[in-house]
């Protein structure tokens, strides 16, 4: 098999972020929330005490990036997991039961898809509390129609395949057919979608935090760090560099893994496109 550059690069990037995340539990150079006004706006440098510098409150940026990775990854992972589970369940329910259940579920999904970009997440945040829980709930709901539509159309496609018909004629129960035939047939696409959705979840989480609708200060979150740096970054541009790069690496990593898996699992062979 030809080397899959996207997948390799994606795995490397995600490993970098996961490394930072694991390290944040082991040891951080400073307390991420400790303010020290006399140390504010120290520039970055490898030979300095604060490798990535300090912010307007004198907090260590590297420690805040490390601490922030916990929130970003937690929110992304939990919400994509929740959203995909609910989405798969609803999509499968609609495709298998058909009739009015199918109509109602799929119309609701159409409705949810009509909310562009982060509008749905913002509307939900208005209702829920701001913070980790609110973000998780909002992003989970955002993910539901993505997965339910995918599963729905895959089941309808797979249904036409011979082996399902054969299984039906052998008298397997609906549940058996679902777990024995549909799930293996759908797994490659679901895994691919999961990885790309992690990328979008990180994008939404950081956007919400940036807008002040996500994780609240004084806790560290990458989007929030960028938002707090807005007042100062004209004079201290380095403030925006580290969180920006952290976000890009994370999203790029998950997207590349999604693309790479797509090439390997779905477009086997014809992947150079």
């Amino acid at each position: 098999m030809k080397k899959n550059i996207s997948l390799i690069l994606g795995i490397i990037l995600v490993f970098i972020i996961l490394g930072i995340w694991v390290l944040s539990f082991v040891r951080m150079p400073y307390n991420p929330n400790e303010m020290n006004i006399s140390n504010r706006f120290l520039g970055p440098g490898l030979d300095r005490d604060h490798v990535l510098g300090t912010d307007n409150f004198g907090r260590d940026i590297l420690s805040r990036i490390m601490y922030g990775s916990r929130n970003v990854l937690l929110v992304a992972l939990v919400s994509v997991t929740l959203g995909s589970l609910v989405g798969i369940f609803l999509g499968a329910l609609a495709a298998i039961l058909k009739g009015p259940v199918e109509k109602i579920i799929m119309r609701i999904m159409d409705g949810l898809m009509a909310f562009p970009g982060i509008l749905l997440a913002m509307m939900l945040v208005a209702v829920l509390e701001r913070g980790i829980k609110g973000s998780i709930a909002a992003i989970s709901i955002f993910m539901v129609p993505v997965f339910s539509r995918l599963v729905y159309s895959m089941i309808l496609d797979t249904e036409n395949l011979l082996y399902i018909k054969a299984a039906k004629s052998y008298g397997s129960s609906k549940k058996q057919i679902f777990f024995k035939h549909y799930i293996p047939a759908m797994l490659p696409r679901l895994i691919t979608q999961f990885s790309s959705s992690m990328g979008s979840a990180v994008m939404i989480e950081t956007s919400l935090s940036f807008l002040g609708l996500g994780i609240q200060p004084p806790y560290a979150s990458w989007g929030l760090m960028l938002s707090e740096s807005r007042q100062f970054f004209l004079n201290y541009p380095y403030l925006a560099v580290a969180p920006g790069i952290a976000i890009i690496i994370t999203i790029l990593g998950f997207n590349l893994i999604g693309d790479g898996l797509n090439d390997i699992l779905i477009n086997r062979g014809s992947n150079h496109e």
């Binding site: 009509a114 909310f115 509008l119 509307m123 939900l124 208005a126 960028l226 740096s229 004209l234 150079h272």
Partner: protein, 318 residues
């Protein structure tokens, strides 16, 4: 043709109906009494009760939904408590801002995506192809708020050639107008160009493999004819659909960019409504934005159909 349009129109209306139910009932579970929110914490219980009944809050939910829906159809979306102004006029005032940057952004994205998408498909695995594929990945991975901040520093502060905040209406001159929307549009365009470029490239690759390309070559046509008249013509359907979806998305998904560049558009209104839990305003905005999305999508679907005569004939039942 007509039956197709009617069909699509019907399903669009169903979607909007579902959206109205979601919007109304989701925003109903907001904690706290809206009358209390409006009057503030030191209001007397009597005043709150009076306002509640004036707002119809004491009626059953389905009745409130129906009267809200009826008002909505009359374009009466109520009064924002933050601004103390009718939601309809607030929206009307913000439309030019958001639509200007959305359309300008899509224009930029379309030009870049088609240019690089076509070149990269024609010269597959060349330097330009790798460059385009990098744009594809980076475009979708770079957050708009970050690229926006970078552009502000570079163009606005270092080069001082473009304004970094505020909106100049087109009535005050075309050049200042374009200048004021250039950077925000560029940020949006960067966010959309990756997806579009990917679609253009893959449709183009697909089209280049088709038999009609052999025919165009064997006829000895020039490169322009071969690649634009034949290859591109066969590769337009999917990109057109995506452009429609992106345009629709931008019509309501510009909150972040409007915040960075301090533009008084729809996105800013959404943010204010969410921050202050101004339900009436948020309900109106959500309904307006989703309707825009649904109708832009509808129009693009119809355009794609007109453009692709095979779909047309399929619906004519030929």
């Amino acid at each position: 043709m007509l039956s197709y349009v009617l069909d699509r129109l019907k399903s669009s209306l169903v979607v909007l109906f579902v959206v109205s139910i979601i919007t109304f009932f989701v925003l109903m579970i907001i904690p706290g009494n809206p009358a209390q929110l409006i009057l503030g914490t030191d209001a007397t219980p009597e005043a709150i009760a009076e306002l509640s009944s004036a707002m119809g809050l004491d009626k059953p939910l389905y009745q409130r939904y129906l009267s809200w829906l009826l008002d909505l159809l009359k374009l009466d979306m109520g009064k924002s408590y933050v601004y103390g102004e009718s939601v309809t006029s607030l929206i009307a005032r913000s439309i030019p801002v958001t639509f200007s940057i959305a359309i300008f952004a899509m224009t930029m994205a379309v030009i870049i995506a088609f240019l690089f998408g076509m070149l990269s498909a024609i010269k597959k695995n060349s330097i330009i192809d790798y460059f385009s594929r990098s744009i594809m990945q980076l475009g979708t991975a770079i957050p708009s708020f970050w690229i926006g901040m970078v552009l502000i520093v570079y163009f606005g502060v270092k080069l001082k050639i473009l304004p970094v905040s505020g909106f100049v209406p087109i009535e005050r001159g075309f050049a200042p107008f374009i200048k004021s929307i250039f950077l925000p549009s560029l940020v949006l365009a960067i966010g959309e160009v990756g997806t579009l470029l990917r679609i253009v490239r893959s449709s183009m690759l697909d089209s280049l493999k088709q038999d009609y390309m052999d025919m165009a070559r064997v006829k000895g046509l020039g490169w322009g004819k071969i690649y634009i008249k034949y290859a591109l013509r066969g590769a337009l359907t999917a990109p057109l659909t995506i452009i429609g979806m992106q345009l629709a998305k931008l019509a309501g998904g510009t909150t972040v960019v409007e915040t960075i560049f301090a533009l008084p558009g729809l996105g800013r209104l959404v943010l204010t409504a969410v921050e202050h839990r101004d339900i009436v305003l948020l309900q109106g905005l959500v309904m307006f934005i989703t309707s825009t999305v649904v109708f832009v999508t509808l129009i693009v679907d119809i355009l794609v159909m007109l453009f692709n005569p095979r779909i047309k004939s399929f619906h004519q039942g030929e």
